[in-house]
């Protein structure tokens, strides 16, 4: 009877003890984690009033004020303002910078507020790049006035009429201040829709302990991977081709002679169903399943399986972007090497990664409800964040590759002079910048949005052994066409894919 009575209680003593123990363990684990990785102090909204700029002498203050005033006047003239308005102007800003980049951002926004005291930015930190969050806010007419996005998703937002055509607001001389590849990334139908603050692409990171000299060709890549595998019993390469959405794979596709879009009779069409795609897929399949030198990692980046294997000396080569550089530098130190992706031996072409860009866009009044004055303030913000001083500061703080021409030149000069610290960072950055010569423009036409899932669906089936490379190439092109059809793109017999005209209202 005692057992029955006990079981009818809500929670028995033992259960209560067990629950308390679990909670204690969870709390202790939480404390340990928090102690090991102190959380960055990034407020959800801020106007950076806590950052103070002190000047030690009157002379410095005067110079600083003069420079600030002069910069303010120059930028204001670019947006058609002769003097500051009498009342403060509030702007909403969505910031997609990473933790290390936010060190730069917090410093720069304080300078911005000093330069334009009449503009009051309200910043939301930690927003991801991409269209979905912005679209959701825009639907309610509450998109941020200024948003930092990637050039490809910015292209879709521009085609949707959600962000401004900056060519109508700024003189063309402004755009010549940026690297041509960066400004091309932000141009659609001869209209510039964003101001770039960096260029980005993937490179080959290698561990010098296992790979003293990086491979120049895919033949050398295979040889090195096999040698590393047999000598050190670690993976030669970690490349999760089996879970790809086609961002990194586009480099190999190009190396095998392919391109995502082609033009036939003046019409842009998808071109995935090619021998280049078949060969590129088979190349990685062979490395993975027959030679067994590539680890088909389930996740990418410094925090994913690829990065974790690389930092723990369990793989010799990975393909990743400079955005993860700090993690690799910390783990490998002078053993870290960076070089361009190799030449594909069978074609003689460089594996050419997408050269993309992130930058600042300004929402249309319909999307954000902004007034003309707020738009001008937003433009000033974008100009300020991407000018020489800011972009060079972003490079120095987080090693983002500058999109501003002058900042880029200064960065190159720094590397050539070997001025980066620690000193072993100089050859790494040199290798990263070298890759820019062999990249391809990141397509920013709105049709590009339908490439990713089409590629992913069939590439994953191929690497799971469900279909052949030929079927995968056919399938991904068919899915690409279907996705475009479903999105209502013009599908005439010739399958016209000319970029649609943006329906922005400015």
């Amino acid at each position: 009877m005692r057992t029955v009575n006990r079981s009818k209680k809500g929670i028995s003593r033992t259960t209560s003890i067990a629950i308390v123990v679990v909670i204690i363990i969870a709390v202790v684990a939480g404390v340990i984690i928090a102690t090991r990785h102190p959380a960055p102090t990034t407020p959800t909204t801020s106007s950076s009033t806590t950052t103070t700029t002190t000047t030690s002498t009157t002379t410095t203050t005067t110079t600083s004020t003069t420079t600030t005033t002069s910069l303010a006047q120059t930028l204001m003239s670019l947006v058609g303002l002769s003097s500051p308005p009498s009342t403060p102007v509030k702007i909403t800003v969505w910031n997609s910078y990473s933790t290390s980049e936010n060190v730069f951002f917090n410093k720069t926004i304080a300078q911005f507020e000093q330069t334009f005291p009449w503009i009051q930015p309200s910043v939301t930190y930690g927003v991801g790049v991409g269209t979905s969050q912005f679209e959701t806010a825009a639907k309610a007419g509450q998109a941020p006035i200024v948003y930092r996005d990637s050039s490809d998703s910015g292209g879709a937002l521009f085609a949707a009429g959600l962000i401004l055509n900056l060519s109508s607001y700024l003189p063309s001389s402004v755009f010549s201040q940026y690297l041509p590849i960066a400004i091309k990334d932000w141009t659609l139908n001869n209209s510039v829709y964003g101001l770039p603050d960096n260029v980005n692409y993937i490179v080959m990171f290698y561990n010098k302990h296992f790979v003293p000299t990086p491979p120049n060709t895919t033949e050398q890549l295979v040889q090195i991977a096999e040698s590393v595998n047999s000598t050190y019993h670690i993976w030669g390469i970690s490349y999760g081709a089996g879970d790809e959405y086609g961002y990194r794979f586009a480099a190999w596709f190009a190396g095998f002679g392919g391109q995502i879009f082609t033009t036939k009779n003046g019409v842009v069409m998808p071109a995935l169903n090619t021998s280049a795609m078949v060969n590129a897929l088979n190349f990685w399949y062979n490395l993975t399943y027959y030679l067994k030198v590539n680890y088909l990692a389930p996740s990418t980046g410094a925090g994913g399986a690829e990065g974790q294997l690389f930092v723990s000396n369990k793989t010799a080569i990975i393909f990743d972007g400079p955005w993860d550089l700090n993690a690799y530098l910390q783990a490998l130190g002078p053993n870290l090497g960076a070089a361009p992706l190799p030449i594909v031996s069978s074609t003689g072409l460089h594996a050419a990664p997408f050269v993309g860009s992130t930058g600042w866009v300004v929402a249309t009044p319909q999307a954000s409800g902004a007034t003309q004055l707020q738009i001008k303030a937003g433009l000033l913000f974008a100009l300020f964040m991407t000018d020489y001083q800011s972009d060079f500061s972003l490079w120095n703080t987080a090693h983002d590759l500058p999109a501003n021409q002058q900042a880029y030149n200064s960065a190159i000069a720094q590397i050539n002079a070997g001025n980066l610290t620690p000193s072993y960072l100089n050859p790494v950055m040199k290798g990263i910048l070298e890759q820019a010569q062999f990249g391809q423009k990141f397509p920013n036409i709105p049709q590009m949005a339908y490439y990713w899932n089409s590629f992913h669906q069939y590439a994953t089936e191929f690497f799971a052994g469900k279909i052949t490379a030929e079927q995968a190439a056919q399938g991904m092109e068919k899915a690409f066409v279907q996705a475009l059809e479903q999105a209502g793109f013009s599908l005439l017999p010739a399958f016209a894919l000319a970029p649609i005209e943006p329906n922005y209202e400015d």
Binding site: T3, P298, P446, Y450, A464, K466
Partner: protein, 276 residues
């Protein structure tokens, strides 16, 4: 003037009617309406009615049947082992002579003590082939081959269903256990007097007494599992290809990868149809 009391009583339910209208019926009707339009990134503010075009394309491209098959496999494949395991464990816990019952119960409901999302991230790591604990330790111990959701569709399903069973069995166990405790002991004592064996008692007493509970649990869990999104999204993302993609995952990807909002909403609208 005298008011009709039955009419005035209706005013009292107005708040709940308003809540239902705005929080349930309006979004439902709006979603249904959008599914008949061409609303997407490129027809964002100015979209138009396209009739059944979105629904036709779902069938035309063959996605409907694949998604229906996957969703049914996911639901039934998860539900049967979850219920069987939940019932088996509740029967064990219900043994009168079982010592340390509370300890066992506390251990068995542990999967409930952690947020599902966090558990899934942990499981994601456990399944990594060959480094995760499942592939490095547990499966070799059981003399089973490794499971890799990237390289095998079968592996992806095993990974999904095993994880889902682990996440969900405490619910079934708890419901069945509480229901078992409500069965009068006298019934078993009488059966003992009649010389009935354990199996007969289970078939003649336990199962009929649990009939109502089983029906309730099955129906509610069927709907929940059918629409359950995050295990699939986090573990396999619907892959390889669309081999493990369900209606809900597909709808999410259409909305937030493609920004095809109209397309996305036809899937939830199709679901009652698929149940029929």
């Amino acid at each position: 003037m005298k008011t009709n009391p039955s009419l005035s009583n209706l005013f009292y339910i107005l708040p709940i009617v308003a809540v239902i209208l705005f929080l349930f019926l309006y979004p439902l009707a709006y979603a249904l309406y959008i599914s008949f339009t061409n609303m997407n990134t490129f027809h964002f503010f100015h979209y138009s009615f396209v009739g059944l075009r979105n629904y036709v394309s779902l069938f035309k491209y063959g996605y409907f049947w694949t998604l229906l098959g996957n969703t049914a496999l996911w639901t039934v494949g998860s539900l049967l082992p979850m219920m069987a395991l939940g019932l088996a464990l509740s029967l064990i816990l219900n043994q009168r002579d079982l010592k340390g019952k509370s300890v066992f119960y506390a251990i068995l409901i542990l999967p409930w003590a952690f947020p599902g999302f966090i558990s899934l991230l942990v499981w994601q790591g456990l399944w990594v082939d060959p480094y995760g604990m499942m592939n490095r330790l547990v499966l070799p111990l059981l003399h089973l081959p490794p499971i890799n959701s990237l390289t095998s569709v079968r592996g992806a399903w095993i990974e999904l269903i095993t994880t889902n069973v682990w996440l969900s069995f405490p619910y079934f166990m708890t419901v069945f256990y509480s229901s078992l405790q409500s069965i009068p002991n006298e019934l078993y004592e009488l059966a003992d007097t009649d010389g009935a064996g354990a199996f007969t008692k289970f078939i003649r007493i336990t199962l009929p007494s649990l009939k109502g509970t089983i029906a309730f649990v099955f129906i509610t869990s069927f709907v929940f599992t059918w629409n359950n999104f995050y295990p699939i999204y986090l573990l396999t993302g619907g892959g390889p290809g669309i081999s493990t993609e369900t209606f809900t995952v597909y709808a999410y990807q259409q909305a937030f990868s493609y920004s095809n909002y109209a397309f996305s909403l036809r899937c939830p609208s199709c679901q009652p149809l698929s149940w029929l």
